[in-house]
């Protein structure tokens, strides 16, 4: 009986404690729900996006996330924002192989573009899959010494003493008690709104545009198992994501300086595997590959055509490895590039909802 009494007292205390949090919360206030604006092609062809139950999209949460994303306050010396390495004009990537942190140090991976992230069903983010949600991913760069090189205690102090943020957090989460978790939840909400679905190929799929003969042949090369065979990893017209979001060794190296997924899983059979990036918006996201080794799409296509390097973990989907690749003709290479560029969505770069 004594234990029960203690439990009841604790329970009552918890209820009172939540009620007495009135300094930071307004009773009855709820932020305004803001469901994702799902494009028709996505609605018709793929399953619903992943929105964590603990972080629903709201008008106020997205607005706060956007402000945080573009605010240099998150970095140690307030010289860099998320948008420094994930710039709207580069489809939220940047244009260098590696990004420079606030101290001038370079990272070891190419900045990944950010779009259609809510449809990453396995919720493994980053080239090596080490981040298991968008919310968790957003925690990392802030404290990474070669990136924003801050620490979350300082960031929370600065946000808490800021003239605007406490009110913005109250509106987004009904509390002025700012935490690392709430900060990254807001950023993740904003990132989930970054939807790209207005390329020429999207319009073609909707019957609103036609492909040139070169672009059509490029699509055929992409979909032809005997030529490009790109579709097994990068999807097809029935999947507007244009990635399988899975990890593959695509034959870049015979030996690995960067283990990729293997460095995260500890499984040697994962060494050299990196996430398939979407092939949307390639016009804006050069350089390419996890280490930005290819400056142009021609180099990327040449890699798959004749540059493959064999290794113990090379994906069995890589064809004709002993010949270096699928041996495309010059015409097929040019047409493949023409098709790939139809997946670029320039309206995504200038959408006022996504720019500062």
């Amino acid at each position: 009986m004594k234990k029960w009494t203690v439990h009841i007292v604790c329970f009552a205390f918890l209820i009172l404690a939540s009620c007495s949090d009135d300094e930071n919360q307004v009773q009855g206030y709820e932020p305004t729900p803001l469901p994702l604006d799902i494009p028709p092609l996505f609605e018709q062809n793929i399953i619903a996006p992943v929105i964590p139950s603990g972080n629903p999209q709201t008008v106020e949460g997205v607005a706060l996330g956007k402000k945080l994303f573009f605010d240099k306050i998150l970095s140690g010396d307030e010289t860099q924002a998320c948008a420094t390495c994930h710039a709207p004009q580069n489809a939220f990537s940047d244009n260098t192989p590696f990004s420079e942190g606030i101290d001038g140090n370079l990272g070891t991976r190419n900045s990944m573009p950010l779009f259609n992230l809510a449809w990453n069903y396995n919720e493994r983010f980053a080239w090596d899959g080490k981040e298991l949600s968008l919310e968790r991913q957003a925690q990392e760069p802030v404290q990474n010494p070669i990136e924003m090189h801050s620490n979350w205690d300082d960031v929370i102090d600065k946000l808490s003493n800021h003239s605007e943020y406490p009110e913005l957090f109250r509106k987004a989460f009904n509390t002025t008690t700012i935490t690392k978790e709430l900060t990254t939840r807001a950023i993740a909400q904003f990132e989930r709104t970054l939807i790209s679905s207005n390329s020429k190929f999207d319009k073609f799929s909707l019957g609103q545009a036609t492909l040139t003969p070169e672009e059509q042949n490029g699509l055929d090369v992409f979909m032809d198992e005997e030529r490009g065979d790109c579709f097994h990893c990068h999807g097809n017209p029935n999947n507007p994501l244009w990635t399988d979001n899975i990890f593959h060794n695509n034959g870049l190296d015979a030996t690995f300086t960067d283990l990729g997924l293997g460095g995260v899983s500890g499984d040697p059979s994962d060494n050299g595997k990196f996430k398939s990036p979407s092939i949307r918006n390639l016009a804006f996201t050069a350089p390419y590959m996890h280490d930005g080794r290819f400056s142009t799409l021609e180099e990327v296509i040449n890699h798959y055509s004749e540059g493959l390097q064999d290794s113990p973990t090379i994906d069995p989907l890589m064809k004709k490895v002993e010949q270096g690749g699928v041996q495309l003709t010059d015409q097929d290479k040019a047409d493949l590039k023409a098709f790939l560029l139809t997946l670029s969505d320039s309206s995504f770069l200038t959408n006022p909802d996504f720019t500062n």
Binding site: F11, W119, S269, V321
Partner: protein, 258 residues
């Protein structure tokens, strides 16, 4: 509080259990599920074996498995009078990611004796013409130039070729197709029915489907990976060989738990 809750739970469960006991005598319908297990000539295979355990096929090639997923559809319960209960649906068995290994049938099945329980490997042609968001999300599609629709199976791995070089294979099963392009033609159907045989459903049941992966390479066609390894989707004769091998001993009835 915890104890109270636990007590309530126990009492509730007791009532529920009593109810079920009473129902047992008059149970007229049952939940069924299919559990897909995998083996290589009897040796259990799971994703823990992928890219790791070596197997030798009927032609003597040593191989490892990298990925395996396949589609089954239209589970059918057939009664002695010929009446069929067809479950209009599909399930992607994704061994790589341990998804879909258990397929729960949404509709309860009348208890009783069935002379056959069967399912379709892949999609019949009508179902293959549909649009399925779950399969699109898995990028399981077949290119339009090959007739569109969906893969029936993607079985990827590596083997040692005759020059002792490791080589990839993509044993991808689809609807056999000729003349790829705008007007492909289809020489024969390559989906097939898997008959599990007679099953008596007396209660909620889990039906094990045993899948012997070695059989894909064995009978009636001894599969030579040295000649048939990649780019098999546009190869209609390879597709027909896959169909013939698939029909002959890959799938079988395992344990029924009810």
């Amino acid at each position: 509080m915890k104890k109270m809750l636990a007590l309530l739970l126990v009492v509730s469960i007791s009532f529920v259990s009593c109810g079920e006991d009473n129902d047992d005598n008059i149970k007229t319908s049952a939940k069924t599920s299919f559990e897909f297990t995998h083996n290589w000539d009897g040796a259990p295979v799971s994703n823990a074996d992928f890219e790791n355990t070596e197997y030798t096929n009927a032609n003597g090639e040593v191989l490892t498995i990298s990925r395996l997923r396949y589609l089954i559809s239209d589970v059918t319960f057939t009664k002695a009078n010929g009446e069929e209960i067809v479950i209009d649906g599909h399930n992607l068995v994704d061994v790589t990611n341990n998804n879909g290994l258990i397929y729960n049938i949404d509709t309860n099945i009348p208890t009783g004796a069935y002379t056959n329980v069967s399912f379709t490997f892949g999609f019949d042609n009508e179902d293959n013409a549909g649009n399925y968001t779950d399969l699109n999300s898995e990028s399981f599609n077949v290119p339009d130039m090959l007739g569109g629709g969906y893969h029936y199976m993607q079985f990827d791995g590596k083997f040692m070729d005759t020059s002792s070089t490791e080589q990839g294979f993509n044993y991808h099963s689809i609807r056999a197709v000729d003349s790829p392009g705008m007007n492909p033609t289809f020489p024969q159907d390559t989906f097939f029915t898997v008959d599990l045989g007679a099953i008596s459903i007396t209660n909620d049941a889990t039906i094990e489907v045993k899948t012997n992966l070695a059989e894909w390479f064995k009978n009636p066609n001894t599969w030579d990976l040295n000649t048939l390894n990649q780019m098999l989707m546009p190869n209609s004769s390879a597709q027909i060989m896959m169909h013939d091998n698939g029909k002959n001993g890959v799938f079988g009835l395992g344990t029924i738990t009810q």
